[in-house]
């Protein structure tokens, strides 16, 4: 069964550094998402992406965050200047149709630790 893959599985960075989290969504999917989950807490929506542009973003997704689909297969999340509170598990997800009637397929996540 096709999977969403994320790399790296764990990223440790110093405060103020830039990080790029990478995702390869399922190949025929059209909708892409980033979520984050602080340890033991709920899954929080960051951003959705469709037709090569951001569809929706949450309050968390401020100017420090950006997303790109550089080559038709990868979907990346960049955090320009990391803060301690950015430490979380970041999940990429994709769906073939809109989230109205299509399940989200999540990757296994990247655990980001900011020191």
């Amino acid at each position: 069964e096709p999977e969403v893959t994320q790399t790296p599985s764990h990223q440790v960075t110093q405060m103020g550094q830039e990080v790029i989290l990478r995702c390869v969504p399922i190949s025929n999917h059209l909708y892409f998402y980033w979520y984050r989950q602080i340890l033991g807490q709920k899954v929080e929506f960051l951003v959705s992406f469709y037709n090569n542009e951001i569809s929706e973003k949450s309050e968390i997704f401020d100017d420090q965050f950006s997303v790109e689909r550089p080559d038709g297969s990868n979907f990346t999340l960049k955090i320009r200047s990391t803060k301690l509170e950015d430490s979380a598990m970041y999940f990429c997800a994709s769906s073939d149709l809109s989230s109205y009637n299509s399940p989200l397929h999540f990757g296994n996540g990247t655990r980001l630790t900011v020191t």
């Binding site: 909708y31 998402y33 979520y35 807490q41 709920k42 899954v43 929080e44 929506f45 960051l46 951003v47 959705s48 469709y50 569809s55 929706e56 949450s58 999940f91 149709l97 809109s98 989230s99 109205y100 009637n101 299509s102 399940p103 989200l104 397929h105 999540f106 990757g107 296994n108 996540g109």
Partner: protein, 114 residues
Amino acid sequence: QQPVQSPQAVILREGEDAVINCSSSKALYSVHWYRQKHGEAPVFLMILLKGGEQKGHEKISASFNEKKQQSSLYLTASQLSYSGTYFCGTLDKGSGGGADGLTFGKGTHLIIQP
């Protein structure tokens, strides 16, 4: 605005039943249910689209009361493998539509004991 889940946690013996509720203050397009095991990604269980819709497979089923903006997940004759955190995710009618992300509740921790 996030949906509200209840209860926050449930401890059951194997074979017992559980109901997890999810309610929203907004009118909803759809409700999703996911299960997440510790250290893993959320895994899709089911989507409910229409008011009154009920779905299920094996011993896990769900209903959606569109008028009350509520959904419930039913686990019957629970098995050890059902342990995990259950999240409902909602797409509300105030959103831009289907390309928007789901808003998840805080989750219900389900512990099944032998």
